[in-house]
Symmetry: C2
Subunit: 389 residues, 2 copies
């Protein structure tokens, strides 16, 4: 309250008796000014009162990691699509599946005991298990360019993939196909990441604990951080969680379960503290992510990186990793940057930053989404800092 | 700003010309009062400005789950000890190890494919791998009472255990022994949980990214939530992380890395965004937790519960699950409460609540800790809402 004391101290002592109009007028002027100063200070007060909420947000996107190209293909028949992360020179990769209802392809070879330790693309797609077909199109795209794991008789592209369930948004017979994957690969660039209702995030929704009727539109987001050391860590995510998107800087809901009248955020954490069972259903959810770094990592290191990145899911989605989510994160290490220190110390830093950029990418996915019929987006509702009750 | 407008509206219009002393005095009085009102409003402003930070904290502790007894034994030669969770009637159990440097016992039998699905106690201990001996004392305690898995020739107590590394705090030759475990089991009660520098948390510290010299004392914490449905979910944790304890309601550091002069919180997340390698070392860390519920769960369900509880670690510790932590969570389901709805819907709710009570228990561990030479505690430092820079 130093500033209040200063403002009060600046106020002149009341003159005992002075009828002169001039003095009177000057007292009123000072009075007016001192009130004005206090009003300005009150406007500023929330800024002072705002607690330090940790390091600020990061920006950028997955393509800030050199060697990575990103392409989306979004279907126009209904909101769904696929997103392809291309690493034509190969990248060491790992995966961690923490949801209970995943749909994946080529994840077994990513186990640390597996032979292959380089992948050439990762595909995220809508369309539930049908959407895994998109990876076949990317395999074809890479084969045409002679990119893959060299065997005596063929070069075999290694393309892990994971899907999310968006069949409830529009006509369920429309799903990403192999052609969708091929087109996304052909469209891939190293330019800025397009976020929101695109690719694997086109049909993504959040806040489904009370069924689709109170859900909101989510989408695809990305974020990155680059340090003076030359290290870059980036994340990409398509958020289709049963839970809500939470901004970990404020603990407030960005998008998720709506109130019964649909006009405000309700906060799934509150619903979960009530006694009733939820109406969330299996196979309607799943958040898919990719973290990438330019650091040199082993396959085991990339696996650990994927594991630590799930802490970003935990911080920016609630609830998450539920029985009804198939939450999966792939990790890619392009290996052009040799971190200082021991491999474990480097991994600690890279993994911690991956969790942070992943959380940021999730918040961005929520903020970038645009509402569609039946699923308003964050931007359509009252600000989350209006308490929902 | 309605209230500001109201305060200003309550201020009288300036009289044009009135030399009367009485009026002058009354103007000054009103002036004084209006300034007073504004000052009071400014004091209140931070409360209004405070954003909604989600559902409030929970209280209670692990023993709020009927059938669970908790006992600590704390050594007096140096700060270390062990904590025993007794479930004499048995509980379905699961485990999830997410840190890279764990020290455990009887965790393989907890795999979903394992035969045994009931445990009779869980032991958390300091002393690194040496501390696993504490479990032997608990096995002895239970055998003397005829409690265990019945085989033709003996009744075998099932006592999973995990340790944390606190050998750097005091004389490393002092470690929890089998006798320590026996005494903790004998001391176990269903009463309120003693928190802070006790049992497995006696030697626990946090904020070790820049080495022990800038670390802080942490300890043991517990929390629980009970719903109108009769469901109870509770957590117990000994926080010995390389990272900091974060209050997820505010994103502020509760205890962790200190500034170079040791007088303030520095925030490990900021250090990790600088270019330098960290001085954290392997095997000096590990956070150990137990979540328990009165719900009836399968062994697979208990495993999923342990997995989801790690999201509480992610929300209240940063960084966490690092290569230098052996983060492990056990889940116990006593089975006296039959949840409504499908098993998966129940598990979603129980797992989500477990993550929340675990985060709360971690914050409580930080707040309950008492400083020891070289390791000040949260209560010894300036409040975390003073920005560290």
């Amino acid at each position: 309250m130093h500033i209040v004391a200063w403002a009060l101290g600046g106020h002149p002592a009341r003159p005992a008796e002075d009828p002169s109009p001039t003095h009177h007028s000057s007292l009123a002027t000072i009075h007016f000014l001192s009130v004005l100063v206090l009003v300005v200070l009150m406007w500023l007060a929330p800024a002072w009162a705002a607690p330090d909420t940790g390091p600020g947000p990061v920006s950028g996107g997955l393509t800030d990691v050199a060697g990575i190209k990103l392409g989306h293909y979004t279907l126009d028949q209904r909101p769904t699509g696929c997103t392809v992360v291309l690493v034509e020179d190969g990248a060491v990769a790992g995966v961690d599946v923490r949801g209970s209802a995943p749909g994946t392809r080529e994840t077994d070879l990513l186990r640390p005991t597996g032979l292959v330790d380089q992948v050439h693309a990762v595909v995220l797609a809508g369309g539930s298990a049908f959407g895994l077909a998109a990876a076949s199109g990317v395999v074809q795209y890479l084969e045409e360019r002679g990119i893959g794991f060299v065997t005596p008789t063929a070069t075999v592209p290694i393309v892990p993939a994971a899907i999310l369930y968006d069949l409830g948004v529009g006509d369920a017979s429309v799903r990403p196909t192999a052609e969708c994957g091929y087109r996304a690969a052909r469209a891939a660039t190293a330019g800025p990441v397009v976020e929101g209702n695109v690719g694997a995030g086109a049909g993504a929704t959040v806040g489904k604990l009370a069924g689709a009727g109170r859900a909101m539109k989510s989408g695809l987001g990305s974020a990155s951080i680059s340090l003076a050391s030359g290290l870059t860590v980036a994340a990409l995510v398509a958020v289709n969680a049963v839970g809500d998107i939470i901004d970990p800087h404020t603990n407030q809901v960005v998008a998720g379960l709506r109130s019964e009248d649909g006009t405000a955020l309700a906060d799934s954490r509150r619903l979960l503290r009530s006694a009733g069972p939820t109406q969330a259903r299996s196979a309607e959810n799943t958040t898919l992510g990719v973290v990438a770094t330019n650091a040199r990592l082993t396959k085991v290191g990339a696996t650990k990186l994927a594991q630590m990145a799930h802490d970003g899911f935990a911080r920016a989605i609630s609830p998450v990793h539920t029985p009804y989510d198939g939450d999966t994160i792939f990790a890619l290490a392009t290996g052009t940057h040799q971190p200082a220190g021991t491999p474990q110390a480097a991994l600690l830093q890279i993994g911690a930053l991956a969790a942070e950029v992943m959380a940021e990418a999730i918040v961005r996915a929520g903020r970038a989404a645009v509402g569609i019929p039946g699923y308003p987006a964050s931007r359509d509702l009252a600000p989350a800092d209006s308490p929902p009750e």
